[in-house]
C-alpha cells in the first residue's frame, strides 16, 4: 500500500507479471520518479527515433544523398571564400577543405538538432494530446535523425581525407566524446525552444535565424586561431566554438585553447541545465496548450 511508485512499465508485462503496479496521480507527482519513468519508456524512444529516421529517408527522393551533398557544397563554398578569396590560414599542415569539413561536421549536427528538436513537440501535437509518455522523448528521438545524418556525413569525410591523403591524428579516438558533447550542446537550447514553441509558435521563426546567424559567429569556415587573441575569450562564449574546436582537436591534432574550451563547456552545461529545467516545468501543461 505504502509502496507508491508513479510507474507503469509498459514493456515488462510480456515477460511474466511482476508485482502489481501501483500508479498514483496527483498534482506535482510527475516530478518524482522522473528519470526512472524515462527509462521505463525507452522502448518508445527507440521506436520514435526509428520512425523519424525512416520517414526522413522515405520522403526525400535523394534520401541519404542530402547528408552528402549539403556538407560538400558548404565546404566547397567556404574553401573558395575563406581559403582563396580571404586568404585565411588553415591549421598547420592541414588542407583547407579538410579543416572546414572537420568544423562543418559538428556544426551540421548542432544546427539540425536545434532545428528538428525545437519543432518536434509541435509536429507531434497529436500524440501529446492523446497519450502519456515523458515528453522529453520526442525531442530526444528527433535528434537521433541528426546523428544518422552525421554518420553519413562522417563517411564522406573519411573519403575526403583519403582524397587529400590526409591521415588524422590518433586523438580521433576521442571523437565519440565530442559527438556526445555536441549533442548536449544543441539539446540545451533546443529543449528550451521546444517548450516555449508549444505556447508561442513565434519560436519556429527564431530557430532558422539563430542557425543562420550561428554559422557566421562559429569557426566553421575558418579556424578559431584566426580570432584575435584579445577577443578569443568573448568568442568562446558561443558554445559551438568549443564543440567545433574539440572536433578539430580530435581530427586534425594541434592544441586545445583551454580557457576558451572550459568557458564553452560551462556555457553548454548551463544551457543544458536551463533547457531541461524549463522543459520539465512546462511539460505537464503541454497537453493543455498544444
Amino acid at each position: 500500500m505504502t509502496d507508491a511508485t508513479a510507474l507503469d512499465l509498459p514493456q515488462e508485462n510480456a515477460a511474466g507479471t511482476p508485482a502489481e503496479r501501483h500508479l498514483v496521480i496527483e498534482p506535482g507527482r510527475l516530478d518524482r520518479n522522473y528519470w526512472s519513468d524515462l527509462w521505463a519508456y525507452r522502448e518508445l524512444f527507440i521506436v520514435l527515433a526509428w520512425r523519424d529516421v525512416a520517414v526522413r529517408y522515405k520522403q526525400a527522393a535523394l534520401g541519404a544523398a542530402w547528408a552528402v551533398v549539403r556538407p560538400l557544397l558548404a565546404v566547397f563554398v567556404f574553401t573558395i571564400i575563406f581559403g582563396r578569396v580571404a586568404q585565411l590560414p588553415s591549421e598547420p599542415g592541414v588542407p583547407y577543405p579538410v579543416m572546414v569539413y572537420a568544423g562543418m561536421l559538428p556544426w551540421m549536427l548542432i544546427s539540425t538538432i536545434l532545428g528538428d528538436a525545437s519543432n518536434s513537440l509541435v509536429s507531434n501535437a497529436g500524440m501529446i494530446g492523446k497519450i502519456y509518455y515523458p515528453r522529453i522523448i520526442t525531442p530526444a528521438a528527433s535528434s537521433i535523425v541528426s546523428l544518422v545524418d552525421f554518420a553519413v556525413s562522417f563517411a564522406v569525410f573519411l573519403l575526403l581525407m583519403l582524397a587529400f591523403l590526409y591521415v588524422p591524428s590518433w586523438k580521433i579516438l576521442f571523437l565519440p566524446v565530442f559527438i556526445v558533447y555536441a549533442v548536449a550542446m544543441a539539446l540545451g537550447p533546443a529543449l528550451y525552444l521546444a517548450s516555449l514553441n508549444v505556447r508561442y509558435r513565434d519560436f519556429r521563426f527564431i530557430v532558422p535565424f539563430v542557425v543562420q546567424f550561428g554559422l557566421y559567429i562559429s569557426p566553421v569556415g575558418f579556424s578559431s586561431e584566426v580570432v584575435p587573441e584579445g577577443w578569443r575569450l568573448l568568442y568562446s562564449l558561443n558554445p559551438a566554438v568549443s564543440a567545433i574546436d574539440g572536433f578539430r582537436w580530435c581530427i586534425l591534432g594541434g592544441e586545445i585553447w583551454w580557457p576558451g574550451f572550459l568557458l564553452g563547456l560551462g556555457v553548454t552545461g548551463l544551457m543544458l541545465w536551463a533547457g531541461i529545467r524549463t522543459f520539465r516545468r512546462t511539460e505537464r501543461q503541454f497537453a493543455d496548450y498544444i
Partner: protein
Amino acid sequence: MNDVVISARGLGKRYLIGHETVDRNQTFRERIMAGAGGLARNLAKTARGEQLVQGEVEEFWALKDVNFDIRRGDTVGIIGRNGAGKSTLLKILSRITEPTTGRVDIRGRVASLLEVGTGFHPELTGRENIFLNGAILGMSRAEIRRKLDEIIHFAGVEKFLDTPVKRYSSGMRVRLAFSVAAHLEPEILIIDEVLAVGDAEFQSKCLGKMEDVAQQGRTVLFVSHNMAAVSRLCEQAMLLTDGRSAGVGAIDEVFAAYRGATSNILSSGARRDLRDHNDRYGSGDTKFSSIVLLDSRGIASSEICFGESISLLIEFSGPVPRDAVISALCLSPEDHRVLQIVSDDDPTFSIGSIDRHAIRVHVANLPLQPGQFNLLIGLHDQSMQPLDVVRNAYSFRVVEHPEKQRRRHAATAKNGYCTTTSVWTVEIEKCAFSG
C-alpha cells in the same frame, strides 16, 4: 484483498480562461511596448511553468471534487453531456494532464485509447505503423511481433501490409488502428468514443472484441454518447454533470438520473407552461410548450446574480423544422429589446432530427445589469418568417452578485441595461490639444 483498482478522491481540474481585453485608446507605440513587456512577462511565467492567460482571468473547474471507486473486473460507462468533464477525467486518468487537486490510485497496467491510430504516419507502411502504434500504446516490440498475424487478420489488410498507409482508404486505416488497440492486454482499459468510427459492421466487431476484454475479468472504463453501446458493454455507469459526479452506480439508475436531469426540471412546477399562453403569433404547427430559466447551479430560478451563467430549457410541441432559428430576447420593463440570444450564433448547433422536442441554451456571462427583465422567445424559419413568437414568456430579475462587490456606479442600471468589462488606465503623456 483490496479489490478497488481505481480510486479517485477529491479530484479537480481547474483551467484559467482568459478574456481578451483590448484598450482602444492605446497608441501603436504603447501597444507595442505593452506587448513586448507582456511577452517578456509571459515568457518568464512560461519558463517557470505557471499557467498563463491573457486579459481578464476566469477560473473554470472542468472537474470538481470527483470521488469514485472502481473494482477489479468492472466495466463502467462514463456518461454526461458535452462539457461535463468526461474528456478531462480521461486525460487525468491517462496522465496526459495533471489534476489540480485530489489524488487517483490505480492498481495495474493501464492502457488508454483516447483515439484510434495515434501517431500513425502516412508515409510508413501498414506493418511499420502496427509497430509504431503498438509502441505508442505501450506494447513491447516482442509483444507486437507475437500478435502481428492476429492484428493483421483482425484488420483484414493482409494484401496491403507493405503499402504506405497514405494509400489506404479511411476505413482500412481505422480498421488497422483499432485492430492494434484491440490486441492490447492491459489490466485496465480506458476507452474514449473510439467506436464512433468505421462502418456499422466493423463497429459491431469492435464491440464484440471489447465484450471479450470485459469478460476476461479486466477493468474497462468506457466513455460514450452512444447509450446503446454503453448499455451493451457496461454493468455500471457514472454520470458527470458540470464536472461533478455522484459516483459509480448500477447502469439503469445512472441512465435514469441522466434522463431525469433534464426531465425533472421540465416536469417540476418551476417551468412555465406556454401551451395556453395567448400573447403569441406565428404560422407554424410547432409551438413553444414550456420554458424554464436555470441559474449557474442548474436550479430553476427567476432571480439571477449579475455576471453569472444561465441556461434556458425550452420545450416544443411537435417536431421542430431542421432549419429553424430559435431566439430569446431580453426585454426591459420599458419594452426595449436589450439583449438577443440566437441559435444562429452557435455555428456548431443544428437541430437535426430532433425527437425530444427540448432545447437547452447556455449563456456563459449574462451581461444584464440588475433589474427586471422579460423574455420573448421566437421560432422562425430560415427566411425569418415567424413560426411561433411568444411575448412575456418568462420574467426574471437580475440582482447584484453577493460575492463580487462592484463599485456603486457600476452597479446602477440607470446608465444602460448591459455592461461589458473594460480596462481603464491613466495617460501619462499629454494629448495634442491640451496645451
